[in-house]
């Protein structure tokens, strides 16, 4: 990639995520008949949190301090593996989808480890639930990545996008639509959105992701929130590339990507505003169903004889 393309990628990856999160929150507020927080509220929140001092509980170790940092670093590196505006990614290589999935789980692992490090049984419960949801989400994620990458016969995202049929790919190739549906479920699960988890809840028994970050404050919490926004942005970028022909490179690509991201965020907001959260025992069924859909898609791909 050329230097301007890398710069554009970095600008998009570093600056756009809180705005995308803001759109999702705004749409949810509209559906509930409220005016909602301003679109730029997440930036103000981050600025406020970064200006505070760091407070960490007594008895916490370096794991607690590392949790938010590693979590943020993992999703940022994952963002460098995913093509955003252009046809390539700064760190993309043949096999980057595996690294992408591994980085997502690394971030999740450190978030859980930091929660366990506080020694609070309450946070331990959240970590346990997060681990369970993660275990059910990952088969879906890997099968979707297989569905995207098998037609290109390459485990690289840039190659997979390059091998798509021209134009709107899912019209010519309905399996992309199936992949998009499953990827959307994975996006909701990975980002702890309704119907899997509720980012706005503050009721002890229903928190899953929220409870794990309860003890973080100040800059640590800013890193956690920023990391969540980046994660949403990065997985949504996959979804946008799956559904839209993003023109490779330059401002046109950036505009198309941001429009797609806004649409995905809007869809997340609509789901959040209109769907009730699943009961905890029903979540695995939901995720298993998504993974089964993706598995059927992969099987269809193989049955065609041209995976």
């Amino acid at each position: 990639m050329s230097a301007p393309a890398v710069a554009l990628h970095l600008v998009l990856l570093l600056l756009a995520p809180p705005l995308v999160l803001g759109i999702a929150v705004k749409v949810k507020a509209w559906l509930a008949g409220r005016r909602g927080a301003p679109l730029l509220q997440p930036y103000h929140d981050l600025r406020k949190l970064l200006g505070k001092g760091t407070v960490r509980g007594e008895g916490t170790t370096w794991v607690f301090a590392a949790g938010p940092l590693v979590g943020l670093a993992a999703v940022l590196v994952a963002g460098l593996l995913v093509p955003l505006a252009g046809g390539a990614a700064p760190l993309g290589f043949a096999g980057d989808v595996i690294a992408f999935a591994a980085l997502l789980s690394l971030g999740r692992f450190f978030t859980m480890a930091a929660a366990l490090d506080t020694g609070s049984s309450f946070e331990g419960m959240g970590a346990s639930r997060e681990a369970a949801f993660g275990a059910f989400t990952e088969p879906g994620l890997f099968l979707v990545l297989a569905l995207i990458c098998l037609p290109a016969r390459s485990a690289g995202l840039a190659q997979a996008w390059a091998a798509r049929p021209a134009g709107v790919a899912w019209l010519a190739h309905p399996l992309y639509l199936l992949a998009a549906v499953v990827l959307f479920v994975v996006l909701l699960a990975e980002n702890a959105r309704i119907p899997i988890d509720d980012p706005a809840t503050h009721l002890e028994l229903t928190m899953v992701h929220e409870v794990m970050v309860l003890d973080h404050g100040g800059p640590d919490l800013a890193f956690v929130l920023y990391g969540e926004a980046v994660k949403l942005f990065v997985i949504a970028a996959l979804l946008v590339h799956l559904l839209l022909p993003v023109p490779p490179g330059g401002w046109a690509g950036a505009v198309a990507l941001l429009a797609g991201e806004a649409a995905v965020a809007g869809l997340v907001g609509v789901v959040e505003g209109s769907v009730a959260r699943l009961r905890l025992p029903r979540v695995p069924g939901f995720l298993i169903g998504a993974a089964a859909l993706a598995a059927v898609g992969v099987a269809v791909l193989f049955a065609r004889g041209r995976p």
């Binding site: 190739h173 399996l175 199936l178 069924g285 089964a292 598995a295 059927v296 269809v300 193989f302 065609r304």
Partner: protein, 221 residues
């Protein structure tokens, strides 16, 4: 694998899995209705673009499937479930999670089966949709799964309907070869069968205060 018929068949597979995965009786029946709509569109998508089949024949089959499979049977089924006082959950013998996994495995099995079987070439020559045979096998097999793995009579009727839907999909290979009267006869047979089952469900419900078929296999004098 491109074109409208394959999109429809992929959606049929999705509704199959949804029916197996859903825990609500109403959701099950509504998904069956959605599948009926897809099946009604299928003959049109398969035969109209090529223009080598009798158009009136194809339209009659499509409209017949729409009326019977998507409107009459589901509404009738919901009504008799309500009248029989069925509970809202589907009461599976095997858990829903296992059902979904079994369903996915059965779909893969039917994809393999469709490749492994040497079928006679379709009427009119050439396969029109790559997924036609696998989707019909999968729908039949998942219908069997619904028949054996659910406890209430309503869900068993849903399984029977899926069975018939699978046969209907397979029959689309033969649209040019089978007279329209035979197809309509099959649709009417199905309708009659569902009415009989509705009456049977009503009687089971009145006799035992529930429509749990488990009680039927433990009857003794």
């Amino acid at each position: 694998m491109t074109g409208a018929p394959d999109v429809l068949l992929l959606l049929v597979l999705v509704t199959d899995l949804f029916i197996v995965a859903s825990g609500r009786l109403k959701a099950c029946v509504r998904a069956t209705a959605a599948q009926g709509v897809l099946l009604a569109a299928l003959p049109l998508a398969l035969w109209v673009p090529r223009g080598d089949a009798n158009l009136a024949h194809v339209v009659v089959i499509g409209v017949g499937a729409l009326v019977v499979k998507a409107i009459v049977i589901p509404s009738r089924l919901l009504r008799s479930a309500r009248e029989a006082g069925a509970r809202r959950e589907v009461a599976p013998y095997v858990s829903l999670h296992v059902s979904v996994l079994m369903g996915a495995l059965l779909v893969m099995l039917s994809l393999w089966l469709a490749r492994a079987l040497a079928l006679a070439p379709a009427a009119g020559g050439g396969e029109r949709a790559a997924l036609l045979v696998p989707a019909s096998f999968a729908t039949v097999l998942l219908g069997f799964l619904m028949l054996v793995a659910r406890r209430y009579a309503v869900t068993q009727v849903v399984g029977y309907l899926m069975l018939d839907n699978g046969v209907f999909i397979f029959g689309q290979r033969l649209v040019g070869a089978v007279p329209v009267l035979v197809e309509l006869g099959i649709l009417l047979d199905l309708l009659a069968a569902v009415f009989v089952m509705g009456i049977a469900m009503h009687h089971i419900g009145r006799e035992f205060d529930h429509i749990d078929t488990r009680a039927l296999s433990t009857l003794r004098d």
